[in-house]
């Protein structure tokens, strides 16, 4: 009965811990490893124009739906202009306005994005486009071509591919030649394409965006074709007819609206610059959590002052040490002094480093034991004797620090970090065990303590583990679940297999 409660509790704890962990990891994107950096692209658009005499109003198309990318932030730099973001027919528009301005003006709009595969294309299903009004002789050419391609295709995607193939044919048929006679740019080509797709009652639009790759001082907008097949938008390479959105392609805006529209200005030019830098994945995750108003951020240790963070990054490793202790005791069966003495020693090892830690610890305990045995002859009462041992331990620490400083061994100074009360208790326990159970048992338990401390130190010193626990403190619940389960472990300890070997006969 009780066993079931234990399993239930452990399962509950693990479930809560794991789900919080997965939410933060998968949804909010908290990084599993410390040094993970995510590339972040900052695209800066500079709209420059000569101001006219009256009021100036500038409209710039800015990214709305960006499949494969998530926006980190956006801002505008424009001296004296009011700035607002509105939804226009083609998506979001940045709008600047000023009563009057003098001379050449430059307005900046900056957006930072990072890759996130979970961002899907989310868009409305468009209505069927009206039949375009086309003048002869173009109309006949379009009709013939559309009818012919329609016969040679099965669905929207294959229709588009086939149409693109014919339009891009190096030796085009006369109809295509006629249609393309006035086209001199990629955008113009796509306009013809959308018209022809509209003639086939297929919703289509031009997409313009950037290939994000490294640093580009003046990036060119690349046009792309977007076709709706009734369920979703499909992307087509207008030149090859390949159906895909290129890797790392940031969609800037869609539709036939012009990129920029300046009222009251002339000589309008738009320049794009792209910068790639790497930002700590953690910072992005936090921004993300903040944007969602997630409680995860409020509960994040990263919101604490740096100094407190440093304390907790150490404190949070103590449960790991305790877990090591549980394994050593319950599953392996190693004897050690005190329940958590090895964990505290391991904590001190963090500062002294292992080699010096072991040497200093051994030295301290050995010297302390010697003096403890001398004190034994004085027949002191318990509490005064313990206090005497404590004072001796402090004095020994001081002595070791001074000696090592004189010898130029600065590591010896770190002996002061050992938990002196714990060491004093250890010395006392050890001397009692030494007397009652003999030197062998005392030394075995002493070495056992040291061994457990070393193993705990190794685990507590794992940087990735520290990061994991610090970033995902809900891991504590998982550790708790393991410890609770271990508390009901009724199997043999590893050392018992040897102890009872006489009984393992068949």
């Amino acid at each position: 009965m009780k066993q079931r409660y234990v399993y239930l509790l452990a399962a509950l704890l693990a479930a809560i811990g794991l789900s919080a962990f997965f939410y933060k990891w998968q949804v909010l994107g908290f990084p599993l490893t410390e040094d993970r950096e995510t590339p972040v692209w900052t695209i800066e658009s500079a709209v420059s124009f000569d101001s006219g005499p009256g009021t100036i109003k500038v409209q710039l198309q800015v990214p709305t739906l960006t499949p494969g990318f998530r926006m980190l932030n956006e801002n505008s730099v424009s001296r004296g202009y009011s700035f607002s973001l509105n939804y226009g027919s083609g998506g979001r528009e940045a709008q600047w306005a000023i009563r009057r301005a003098d001379g050449e003006q430059t307005i900046y709009y900056r957006i930072s994005v990072y890759e996130d595969d979970s961002v899907d294309q989310w868009d409305i299903t468009p209505p069927f486009p009206p039949l375009p009004v086309i003048n002869e002789p173009m109309k006949t050419a379009v009709d013939v071509l559309v009818d012919d391609v329609y016969d040679h295709s099965a669905d929207t995607a294959s229709f588009t591919t086939e149409l693109l193939r014919r339009m891009n044919d190096p030796s085009p048929d006369p109809n295509v030649e006629l249609l393309l006679s006035g086209v001199d740019s990629g955008a113009g080509f796509l306009e013809i394409m959308t018209t022809m797709l509209a003639a086939a009652r297929i919703p289509a639009r031009i997409v313009r965006g950037f290939h994000l790759a490294g640093r580009q001082r003046s990036a060119q907008l690349v046009p792309w074709l977007e076709v709706h097949d009734g369920d979703q938008w499909l992307y087509f390479n207008p030149v090859t007819g390949e159906q895909a959105l290129p890797k790392r392609f940031l969609v800037w805006w869609r539709g036939n609206e012009s990129l920029v529209n300046v009222e009251g200005g002339s000589n309008v030019a738009v320049e794009f610059a792209i910068r790639e830098n790497h930002v700590d994945a953690l910072a992005i995750a936090e921004k993300q959590a903040a944007k969602r108003g997630s409680i995860a951020l409020d509960l994040s240790l990263y919101s604490l002052p740096i100094q407190t963070q440093a304390v907790y990054s150490v404190l949070l490793m103590i449960p790991i040490g305790a877990l090591v202790m549980v394994f050593m005791r319950t599953f392996i069966g190693i004897d050690a002094f005190g329940t958590f003495m090895p964990v505290l020693i391991a904590l001190a090892f963090r500062e002294t480093k292992l080699f010096w830690g072991v040497i200093l610890f051994t030295m301290l305990v050995a010297l302390g034991l010697m003096i403890r045995f001398m004190l034994d002859r004085l027949r002191l009462l318990l509490v005064p004797r313990l206090s005497a041992v404590l004072i001796v331990v402090v004095a020994l620490m001081l002595f070791i620090s001074l000696m090592s400083h004189r010898l130029g061994l600065e590591t010896g100074l770190s002996v002061a970090l050992f938990p002196m009360v714990i060491i004093a208790m250890t010395i006392e326990r050890m001397s009692v065990v030494w007397e009652e159970r003999g030197a062998a048992v005392a030394l075995r338990e002493g070495l056992g303590s040291l061994f457990v401390a070393i193993v705990a130190y190794i685990f507590m010193g794992m940087a990735w583990l520290e990061h994991l626990i610090f970033t995902f403190p809900e891991m504590l619940l998982i550790i708790l679940a393991i410890v609770v389960l271990a508390g009901r472990y009724t199997g043999y300890r590893l050392t018992e297999l040897r102890r009872f070997k006489e009984l393992s006969a068949d």
Partner: protein, 322 residues
């Protein structure tokens, strides 16, 4: 590795983890622990139940009372000083006599002389809690020093051999005799180097012994064979052990008894966390016997009936080949 564990499991060997979780935590409620952890309480309970225990000469509970020591033992030649909450035999002083010339000089079981002042210091340490399980203040008991029965004189080196019976829910499950050695300094504690010899519950005869974790057939100091000794008044010992359950309420209990030359079996102490070496001494696991007791458990059975059932149920396995 798992093969060994499997064999142990099949042979019904109880491990520490299982003992702690399934028996001690389940059957021994914490609130009952003082009944066995404090020897003054144990003694009182046992006396109330009409069981035989060594006479209590006096209890010293305060540092201020340490000087009363001489008064308490003024009429006694031999006595034992032990901490009321000691464990594992720590802090026990066995005084077997006094110096012929100086009344305030005492002879210990190992032959050494000790002054009254040294004994007082020892009592102070006990009262201060040096030997108590929790490290808290403790009481020092001064009681009758058992003069042990000659049954085990051949297989003991000084000290008093004692009999440990592990009682499961009132039914004696397993027993052993603990024989002091030179290494154990006359103490009957296995971890100090005493020899443990399994006892056949049905006949009360000793089986082979165990020293630390290995099987021995001879006593390491006297060289006498450990096996085949018939323990006197075995019925009474089993009944007393079974009665220990009624007195303490502990479902997993170790009852330690000694056989006095004149007064017969006496209950020395009881233990809420009896060790597992008794299995090695008996050459068999205790878990299978516990399972059998669970099958035949009868809440209404008297201690005498339970002792009789144990005698019937647990004959020694076929003698071990060695």
């Amino acid at each position: 590795m798992f093969g060994v564990a499997k064999k142990l499991r099949r042979n019904g060997v109880l491990g520490l983890n299982e003992r702690n979780t399934d028996f001690i935590l389940r059957l021994n409620p914490r609130r009952l622990f003082p009944r066995v952890d404090d020897k003054t309480i144990t003694k009182k309970l046992a006396l109330d139940a009409g069981m035989a225990v060594p006479d209590l000469y006096g209890v010293i509970a305060h540092h201020a009372k340490v000087r009363k020591f001489a008064d308490i033992v003024s009429e006694r030649e031999s006595f034992v000083i032990k901490p009321a909450q000691g464990s594992g035999g720590a802090g026990i002083l066995v005084v077997t006599g006094r110096s012929k010339y100086k009344r305030d000089s005492f002879r210990l079981a190992n032959g050494m002389l000790i002054s009254e002042n040294e004994i007082r210091h020892h009592i102070s340490n006990i009262v201060g809690g040096q030997y108590s399980l929790s490290g808290n203040r403790d009481k020092a008991l001064i009681e009758y020093c058992v003069r042990f029965d000659p049954t085990f004189s051949e297989v003991s080196y000084q000290g008093v051999p004692d009999i440990r019976v592990v009682v499961y829910r009132g039914y004696p499950a397993m027993a052993m005799v603990r024989l002091p050695t030179r290494a154990s300094d006359g103490k009957a504690n296995l971890h100090l180097g005493a020899v443990g010899a399994g006892v056949d519950i049905s006949s009360g005869k000793t089986l082979t012994g165990v020293l630390y974790d290995t099987v021995v057939s001879e006593h390491p100091d006297t060289g006498a064979l450990v096996a085949g000794l018939k323990i006197p008044r075995w019925d009474f010992i089993l009944e007393s052990a079974a009665r220990g359950y009624d007195v303490t309420g502990l479902g997993y209990l170790g009852v330690d008894m000694v056989i006095d030359r004149d007064r017969g079996p006496l209950i020395l102490e009881m233990n809420a966390r009896p060790g597992l070496n008794i299995q090695i001494a008996n050459g068999t696991g205790i878990a299978s016997r516990i399972a059998r007791i669970e099958e035949i458990y009868d809440a209404t059975a008297t201690p005498e009936e339970r002792a009789a059932i144990a005698r019937r149920e647990f004959p020694a396995d076929s003698p071990r080949a060695n």
